[in-house]
Symmetry: C2
Subunit: 299 residues, 2 copies
């Protein structure tokens, strides 16, 4: 089964202490779509400007990403530039040019409306809701978010949370949303906002899933060197949804393994700038790291 | 088999945003000894002053801790007072009174010298070495440390590391010691200093073990409420050494499970001030949480 993914499609200029990389393919939807593509066909919803490099359209196509829902509009592609500190953990936004994103209204082609697995990757929650409005009866809807929306669009986000099955956010966002420092306590509070499945991402420390059946502590693959963590969270949720959409059995039966697959793709993402490393991996490489994670956590 | 534990034996006055607790039983050796006692008999090496409350001696005895190596000296017991911030992660020392610790020289009773499992809990590395000097042929020696010794006694610590099998430290100490931000890279550098087994503790994020056979990602038990994390690291390493000393088979066969037992005891430690909660638990409660951790990490 395919996965519908909506989110940002952007050009990222990423500075680190060691290198500068202008106008890489980026955005939450791009990272999530490539990550999901290793498991399932992807239907992309997004917008780019006329300056969007043709080679990036080709990159999507090489990953069998359906671009019927990608609008190409007059104007400039969303451009984000940021800088990482020495320890690669704290990131600073240098500039954000919204470009065509400013007036984006996601429109779903008819062929998208029956999608069963929907990933509302990081984008304004009103747009995430607008995508849901156009769907028939999706089987499993997951939303991701970022601190910006907690700050400027909290009512929209709370509205959205009543309509999704799963919600993914990082630890500092979970603390901000719930005013609760303890993550286990924060998870309980987030369930009350609507989602039956809540996942808190903790970067290099893995992720925690909370469901009616309890918690799952998902490890992160231990990397010897992190080149660029941009998009790791999007890769995580993209890989997770890609795997989930193809796995037989219930969501509850498969979600733990799906998170591990997500962690694995996220680990590859961190090993290169933008999507450079992720686009080069293969399913066998993913399977090898999946098995390795099983070995690294067995006791 | 018994575990020999040397470290600090102290009175801790712990302030948190919610409560104040004067003169609790504390110190690395106290926490480690009680944690180990659930698995094996403990031989304690330490020093207290004449003001040391009799009820704390009784507490050790209730846990079958052998006190032949505990010196009771003229003067005051080591007293530490500290304060936790709202999020219970950052801690501030208010006062440290060394008391009888200032002139402490650990002396091993004859009955201690053949101990096979030795835990050099956090204390000056020169004293840790001095204990090793008095041992016959221990089977497995693990040292813990703290940032203070990296700052003021690094040469002593480096000397010690050549003589131990295992070394335990927390993530910020590992980064300080190796000047390496990435923990996987830091682990490799620490092996070069001597220890075959290196464990980096990451608090609520668990711990990483590195051996010749690769890494093990050890989870922390997810707590809904942390009352006082003081001594959690000591409880972790104490529980680990206690279990190891009684497990059949090689160190490599048992170390992962030993770390999980350590995590479990550490989790109980965090649920009360000082040793209040830890002293109340039972082996069946430990086994229940061990099984739960297996369930929480299975995929």
């Amino acid at each position: 089964m395919s996965v519908l993914i909506v989110g940002s499609t952007a050009l990222d200029s990423i500075k680190t202490p060691k290198a500068e990389n202008p106008r890489l393919l980026g955005g939450s939807a791009s990272h999530a779509a490539v990550a999901a593509s290793f498991f399932a066909p992807v239907k992309l919803v997004g917008i780019v400007g006329e300056d969007f490099p043709r080679r990036y359209l080709q990159l999507y196509k090489r990953h069998q990403v359906d671009l019927a829902g990608l609008q190409i509009a007059a104007g400039k592609t969303f451009h984000w530039s940021g800088e990482y500190e020495v320890n690669m953990n704290s990131r600073r936004t240098l500039e954000t040019e919204l470009g065509v994103f400013e007036t984006f209204t996601p429109k779903l082609p008819a062929s998208y409306r029956d999608s069963q697995f929907v990933l509302l990757a990081n984008i304004a929650p009103s747009l995430q809701s607008h995508v849901l409005d156009q769907m028939r009866r999706p089987k499993f809807v997951v939303a991701d978010t970022m601190d910006l929306w907690l700050n400027i669009a909290l009512p929209d986000l709370l509205q959205l949370l009543k309509r999704v099955d799963g919600f993914v956010l990082n630890d500092s966002e979970a603390r901000q949303l719930t005013q609760e420092d303890n993550l286990v306590a924060a998870l309980k509070k987030i369930h009350k906002l609507g989602p039956r499945y809540v996942i808190i991402k903790k970067g290099e420390h893995g992720a925690i899933l909370s469901t009616r059946n309890g918690l799952f502590l998902s490890p992160a693959y231990p990397l010897h060197r992190v080149v660029d963590p941009t998009g790791a969270g999007d890769s995580f949720v993209g890989g997770m949804m890609g795997y989930l959409s193809t796995a037989r059995g219930s969501i509850d039966d498969n979600l733990r393994r799906a998170m591990i697959y997500g962690s694995v793709v996220a680990s590859f993402c961190c090993e290169g700038f933008g999507l450079k490393f992720t686009t080069r991996i293969t399913r066998p490489a993913i399977e090898a790291r999946f098995k390795e994670l099983a070995k690294l956590t067995r006791f």
